[in-house]
């Protein structure tokens, strides 16, 4: 029996080892290598770390990426919630199934294609500015701005956030919602005092997914944000291109990994903490 269990687990252990832990370990090791004459040499020096951690542009990029991904997470959570609430409580199970199916459809097409389609809408002579122009506003610059970046992040994450929130809300025990009303809780207050605490785990996991995907995304900040300023994924690409500085790019990558670990751990702790503060 035990032998069987091991056999079945073996593929996932091998896969994780080969394609996740192995490269991760190599990346960490590589961040201590040196590049001389455009060639990487094995070494154990702290030079890359010292250089990257003391450069202002790295930290600017770090805080900017954190801020952008954080904003996208906040906007996605707030925009998705009414939609998810309606799908969970206001429509039939039939409509809910269809809605979730439709929310999966965006993932059929390439993210890059979906990103480019925003050009038509956001460009100086695009749909929005043409519309605003007829009533005497604009044109506004939306491409190559932080706004563009956030729009791109939401393109990637919003359908997923809506799906995860819908599932979280639909699993709420309706008796608890009715019990709150029965004990004198008005509908708006029920939402805050009962529905959100009950769906807390799912809502936080949805937000975490949004943050992780946005934080590591290259496409939106590059094509819609115009790399002004560059986010960490853009910084990684730029660093590898300029002078074959793979070790310095590895430093940035490790910084990102550590940040995500810290944020994910905090989020999971918050999500599964039994009680809310009262």
């Amino acid at each position: 029996m035990n032998r069987f269990a091991l056999v079945f687990r073996l593929p996932i252990i091998v896969w994780q080892g080969l394609f996740f832990l192995g490269p991760l370990f190599f990346m960490i090791v590589m961040s201590f290598f040196l590049v001389k004459n455009y060639r990487m040499e094995e070494a154990f020096e702290l030079k890359n770390w010292a250089r990257m951690l003391t450069r202002g542009y790295v930290w600017d990029s770090y805080w900017y990426t954190l801020g952008m991904a954080g904003s996208a997470t906040l906007v996605a959570t707030l925009v998705a919630f009414p939609a998810a609430y309606a799908l969970a409580f206001r429509v039939s199970a039939e409509v809910r199934r269809w809605a979730i199916f439709l929310l999966i459809i965006p993932f059929f097409t390439s993210y890059l294609v979906r990103t480019f389609s925003w050009y038509v809408i956001l460009a100086g002579s695009g749909v929005i500015n043409a519309g605003l122009g007829t009533v005497g506003f604009g044109p506004y610059t939306m491409l190559n701005t932080p706004f563009g970046t956030v729009v791109g992040y939401l393109t990637l994450t919003l359908p997923l956030v809506v799906i995860l929130q819908t599932v979280a809300l639909a699993n709420i025990d309706q008796n608890l919602v009715q019990a709150a009303r029965n004990l004198g809780c008005s509908p708006p207050r029920t939402l805050i005092s009962v529905v959100v605490p009950l769906a807390k785990t799912g809502l936080i996991i949805a937000a975490l997914f949004c943050f992780i995907l946005s934080f590591g995304d290259f496409v939106a900040p590059y094509y819609l944000g115009g790399s002004k300023p560059p986010t960490l994924p853009i910084l990684i690409i730029d660093t590898t291109k300029s002078g074959q500085q793979w070790p310095r790019a590895a430093v940035v990558a490790v910084m990102m990994m550590l940040t995500l670990f810290a944020i994910a751990a905090t989020a999971i702790w918050l999500a599964y903490r039994r009680r809310i503060a009262s």
Binding site: D173, N175, L176, Q178, A179, A180, R181, N182, L183, G184, C185, S186, P187, R189, V194, P197, L198, K200, R274, R275, I276, S278
Partner: protein, 351 residues
């Protein structure tokens, strides 16, 4: 009856094409312990939910203290319900659960903590106040749910089969807790249940419902000894039900003619109900006794129900004290003779 607290008049509830409650009229007095009982799907829970405002009547009126409640939203009613699932909030501890209703009413922190603790202690669970509700036992959770509903000092408490998930010995204890509380507080309890032992043990009056209609309302002893119709006779207690024709002072059935009081005019159909615990059983043949053979027995402790079959296939039930069994030496196929005193029979004029 004292002043009615709750009045349901001509209440109908439809869900789509299904009618859950048909034209229900019911008055519940101030301070009364009423049990609404019936098989599942009889409309008892829907009726309770209409009192709480969790369902809106399709027709008719629900009045509480004289005020028409049809359009009063749930959260403005003050009709707390103890749920079958208890519906305790998992993200709050025991004390915070009890405080919930007070918090909604804007009672300040110190005061609501004091009142919550008072109730937890009254129900002997003060020691568990800071515990997460899912670390509590079934009985403790039950008490938290009760405290949560009563802490706001409502005029009425609604109970939706809250004891159905408890172990048998805990049910008896909680029945004691409920009846004591109801007496002490003097408020109205409306208890929905499918358990006749709960209804008979606690209620001042029992409402029996079937298929969305009230089929009988009465005190427990009335319901038990003088069922108003065949449905109640079958649903409550263990009754032998014999259909027959009235002969004036006796009823003629397939098993013989038995003297009975309260029969309709001679020639009219009638039904004779004899409670299983009033039937006498003996091994020796007796005058007028019905010969039967034993099919099976159901042992529930102090009493045993014997299921017997008469010559024509009619099934008859006898309840005897367990200690009286020894003399009967019963085993399947044993022959017995059944009889009952003339005043044991209860006559239904419907068939």
């Amino acid at each position: 009856m004292k002043d009615p607290l709750v009045v349901l008049s001509g209440v109908v509830k439809r869900f789509g094409t299904f009618t859950a409650v048909h034209r229900l009229d019911l008055e519940i007095a101030q301070g009364e312990f009423i049990a609404i009982m019936g098989p599942s799907g009889c409309g008892k829970t829907t009726t309770l939910r209409m009192i709480a405002g969790l369902e809106t009547p399709s027709e008719g009126e629900v009045r509480i203290s004289g005020q028409v409640m049809n359009d009063v939203p749930v959260h403005e009613r003050d009709t707390p319900l103890v749920w079958q699932s208890l519906a305790l909030f998992p993200f709050l501890n025991a004390r915070e659960n009890v405080e919930f209703g007070l918090r909604m009413r804007g009672v300040d922190t110190v005061e609501r903590r004091r009142r919550a603790m008072e109730w937890l202690e009254r129900l002997d669970i003060g020691a568990f106040a800071e515990r997460s509700v899912d670390t509590l036992s079934g009985g403790q959770r039950q008490r938290v749910a009760l405290a949560r509903s009563l802490v706001t000092e409502p005029r009425i408490l609604l109970l939706d089969e809250p004891l159905s998930a408890l172990d048998a010995h805990l049910v008896i204890r909680m029945q004691g807790v409920l009846t004591r509380l109801q007496r002490e507080l003097g408020i109205t309890f409306v208890h929905v249940t499918h358990s006749q032992s709960e209804a008979l043990a606690m209620a001042d009056r029992i409402v029996i419902m079937s298929e969305g209609r009230v089929v009988q309302i009465g005190r427990p002893r009335e319901i038990y000894r003088t069922p108003g119709n065949r449905f109640v006779a079958e649903f409550v207690g263990r009754n032998n039900i014999l259909s027959g024709i009235s002969r004036g002072d006796a009823i003629e059935t397939a098993l013989g003619t038995f003297p009975a009081a309260g029969l309709p005019a001679p020639g009219r159909p009638a039904t004779l109900v004899i409670a299983a615990d009033l039937v006498e059983i003996s091994q020796a043949p007796r005058d007028g006794a019905i010969p039967c053979s034993l099919i099976s027995e159901e042992f529930v402790g102090a009493t045993v129900t014997l299921f017997l079959e008469a010559a024509d296939g009619t099934e008859l039930k006898v309840q005897v004290p367990e200690r009286a069994l020894g003399e009967l030496n019963q085993h399947a196929g044993s022959r017995y003779h059944l009889s009952w005193p003339a005043d044991a029979g209860h006559v239904l004029t419907e068939t």
